[in-house]
Each structure stands twice: as structure tokens, then as C-alpha cells.
Amino acid sequence: MKRPSPTLPTASTALLLLVLLAMSIMLVSGRDIAHQLTLAACTDAGDCGTFPDSPPVCHYAGRDRVVARESFAFAQQTPVEGARLIQFGDDSAEVIVPGDDDSAEVYGFLRWEDAQRWVMDHSSQFRGIAGAAAGPTGQPIRDGYLRMLRLTGLDHEAELEPVATTVQVNEPSGPGSHGVLRQNAQGEIVQVTVVMPLDEATAELQDFAAALGIWGFISYTIDLGLELKPDRLIFGGPASEGWSLTQLRSAAGIPRSSASDELPGYAESGEAVLRSFVLDLTQRANTALYREIFAMESVSGTAAPLLTAEDWTSSGERSELYSQVIERVRSGAVAVETTHTLQDADSGEETVLAAVEGLVVQAGNTASPETRLVSARTADLLISSASFDPLLTCEPKPDENEDDHVRKGLL
């Protein structure tokens, strides 16, 4: 009787080698296939959860809409543990990954679809599934698989490098203030954002904020170009109720505002409203004002422009400076007002303030509630009769004439 051989038959060996080769080839493009299958599955289910989605913005011409699309955040969310994702109105997105100290790394994506892929690659859920192939303890198999693709040149995407880093600063503009300095890959400061709580601010700053229809806190953001040349200045904060553009235009100096400083009604309904005023610092008048109210100060080992009026000027000088700012705002700023729903968060003053601060600071590692834009409106205050116009709807107003349709580029 012939004894069975303790080896695999030739056919079985060939079959195993064939399967090994086929699976290895599939692994090369496995991540892309998984991305497509996952998006198809969640799209069919009607909810892709924390995956970024395309923002619905109409492609209008007009200075106010262009400015708004570049500045407002469509959504902020925590797609994976330890990271924060911000989607912007121009389809781009950023992921902020905090470091061990007060710094954070910012990864930029020109398209929201690329941010989708990043979220999937770093999902702890998906990481655990790949690790289960090795065993139940959760080895970083997926991270190793992605790294193997890059090292062998099989990944068509280059290793993602941070486009910027951010550093938190404390009390840069008076007591209670805090902010973020954003540095590009070359170490140059490109943006300064400071939040100033109004309950610790001077009376002049409180009046200034009230005139702009802002409560809770007021923030300023300075976008800088080459050699710290300022490009844009934004004042913003949670919108108060009972405010209108008419009040802003009504009188010289700081107008007396009838806006309420109490918790707005929208805060109880799970919404947060951010009101911003954008000044173009390439205009000479705005540049002159900027040089008066901001000064280069040393902070966190570097020089950055900061609002020094709260610390270094008298009450009368502060009032005069803020009056000039109001004048520049009412005569040439772009007003942007965005309404956001709070995702899975309790309503209330603290939540609303935290959500709006996240939308203002953007690139900071603030632990903010998740939000999603529901509506936005803009007004170009350079036009004396301008009023707020909706940004996200493409439906014309009932009393608009044909010339307005052509100007706005409606289909």
C-alpha cells in the first residue's frame, strides 16, 4: 500500500501560490477599493456621519460672497479621536492634530474628498479591523500597511506633511484673552487669532462689541502675507439678537446698540450664530487704522501683531480707536453671518460660546462641539444701501429684476 506523502501536491502548491499572488496584488489597491466601497455603502444608507461632505455654496460673483467663501467654516467635527476637521466654503478642508504641548499640526486638503480619505485612513474603527487579521490585541497593522505602501512606492499619494503649525498664546491682548499663532512650513507667522472675553474686557471694548452686534466674546484675526504684511482683518464673535445694519450705520462713533447682551434665543434651540466683519487691509485707509491699533509684540518667542489698546492706552484713547474701527467697518467691511447647528451637543451658553470659538479660531486645537452650517448671509458695506443677502440659496428674491439675475450669474 502506498504511503501518503506529507507534502502538498503540485496542483495545490500552484493554487496556493496563485492565491498568494492575487491577494498581494489586491492589497496594493485595497485601500482605494475600500474607500469606494465604504462611500458607496454609507451613501446608500443616507448618512456618511463624520466623513466630510460637499458644502452647498452657490457660485456668485460679488466681493462679499468671495470673501465669505474664503473665510467661513462650513463644518467642524471630530472625525477621529485626537483630531479636528474644519471644512471651508471653498471646498477645502483642514485637519488639526494636537501635539503634546500647546502646539498643533495642520494638514491641508484642497478638496474635501481628500479629507474624506484622510479620515478613513485614520479611523480607529477601521484600524481595529485590519489589526484583527493578526489577532485580537489591536496591533497597528493598518498603519504598517499604509506605511509599507509609501515605502515601496505603491502609494500614489505622497506622504502628507503639515502645511502649518499652531501655537497657543495666553493673554496677548488683555486679561482673559487667549489665541493662536499659525506658522507656515517655513516657520513664518501667517495668521494671528485672539479671543477676548467681554466679561473681562474694558467698557470701551464691550461697547465696541455691542455696536457690532456681538456678545460673549469678540475676536480678531489677522491674515499676514510675505514679511508680515497684513492682508485681512476680521472681527467676529457670537451674534447678539436685536441688532441690525441700520443701527451700525445710524450714527457716528460707536453707535448705541439696542442689541441684547443676554443669551440669544437661538442658543436654546441647538444653534450657534457667528457674525464677522472682514476688512481688506490692502486698502490704504484700513492699513493706516491697522497700524494705529495693532503693534508688533513679542509672544511665544516670536513677533506678532497684537491689539494693544486694552493694555496700553487710556480710556479716551481706546474709545477713539474703536470709533475709528467702527467707521472703517461701516464704510467698507464685508459682513458675514453664519448659522450653525450643534451636532450631538447640549444647548446652552457654554456650548454656544465653545462652538463659535472653534469656528473663529479654526486652526487651534480647541475642543469644540461639532457644528454644521445651515445658512449664511453676507452684506458688502462698501455699498451704502447693501443689506444682508443669503449665501447658500440659489433661488432669486421675488422682487429682483433681470439685471440682478445676470449680475449674480444665476442659472
Binding site: P6, A34, L37, G138
Partner: protein, 175 residues
């Protein structure tokens, strides 16, 4: 000192089996896992993948050991060969990936010491699954061996018996 001996043909076959299974289950986890997780939940899919992986390793151990039991190898040789093949196949697929994963510079990196411990624990689990498959294969081979001692079932014995019966029948007719 006893020598650590392996049956190399079975070792090669077993290593190929475990290598192929490791790559296959990894491909399934990477490609099918995420969309399934979206539909039924990540924990369910993770548990399912882990169960499939362990079951496959037990089956590979069974297939490798069955060949050895069939040639009446000693239990020690069977276990040494099947477990060595399993360890080699598992390590060839998952150890490099685990090391690369630990060294990847992300904000969520696992500490090196704990990652090494996890590697060892998962490998031990894989070996345990393989050993269980090998022992199950030994039970089926022992039953086969007991039937062998019943000589009347051997083909040559059957042939002789039939020939004898045929000749006896012819002899009766001649008489």
C-alpha cells in the same frame, strides 16, 4: 541535548499555507472590513475577522498535521513541524507590518513595548489555534491506523481471498 528536528517537506507546505492565509485574511480585512463596518458596526466586523483568522489558522494546522499523522510521525515531530510552520508564516506577514505601524509617525502611535507584547500575544494565539487543529487531525488519523490492523481489508488480502475462492470453486466443478 535533544535536537530540534522538523520534517521539512511538511514545514514548507505548512508555511505556504499560513503565509497565504495571512495575506488573504489581511486583504479581506482591508478591503471588505470598512464597508461592512459601516453597515453592521465596527466591533461586529472586528470580531468576525478575528474569528475567521483564528479558524483559518486552525484549519491550516489540521491540513499540515494530517499529512504527518498519515506517515505515523511522532506527536513531538508533528507539533514541532506544524507550529514552526505556523510561526514562520504568521511572522512573515504580520511582524513587518506591526513594526512599520509602530514606527509610523502619527499622533496616535502605540508605545513600542506594548506593541511588542501585543505581537507576541497574537502570535501565541495563532500557535494555539494551529496546535488545536493539529491535535484534531491526530484523532482522525488514529482511527484510520486502527482500521489498518484489520488485515482482511487490505487490497492484497482481498485479492488472495477472491482468487482462492475462485480456484476452490473450479476444483469442485472438476471433481
Amino acid at each position: 541535548m535533544r535536537r530540534f528536528t522538523l520534517y521539512w517537506p511538511a514545514f514548507r507546505a505548512g508555511t505556504l499555507l499560513h503565509l497565504t492565509w495571512g495575506v488573504t485574511v489581511l486583504a479581506l480585512a482591508v478591503i471588505i472590513g470598512p464597508p461592512l463596518a459601516w453597515l453592521v458596526g465596527g466591533q461586529v466586523v472586528t470580531a468576525l475577522i478575528a474569528l475567521v483568522a483564528v479558524s483559518g489558522r486552525a484549519l491550516a494546522g489540521y491540513l499540515t498535521a494530517r499529512q504527518l499523522w498519515a506517515v505515523w510521525a511522532t506527536p513531538g515531530l508533528v507539533l514541532r513541524t506544524t507550529l514552526s510552520a505556523a510561526g514562520t508564516g504568521y511572522a512573515a506577514v504580520f511582524f513587518p507590518l506591526s513594526v512599520l505601524g509602530v514606527s509610523a509617525s502619527t499622533a496616535m502611535v502605540t508605545a513600542g513595548a506594548s506593541a511588542t507584547l501585543f505581537m507576541v500575544l497574537d502570535c501565541l494565539l495563532a500557535l494555539a489555534a494551529t496546535a488545536s487543529g493539529a491535535l484534531i487531525a491526530s484523532r482522525s488519523k488514529r482511527r484510520y491506523r486502527r482500521r489498518l490492523f484489520d488485515a482482511s481489508q487490505l487490497p492484497v488480502v482481498k485479492e488472495i481471498s477472491e482468487s482462492f475462492a475462485e480456484h476452490r470453486a473450479k476444483a469442485r466443478l472438476n471433481v
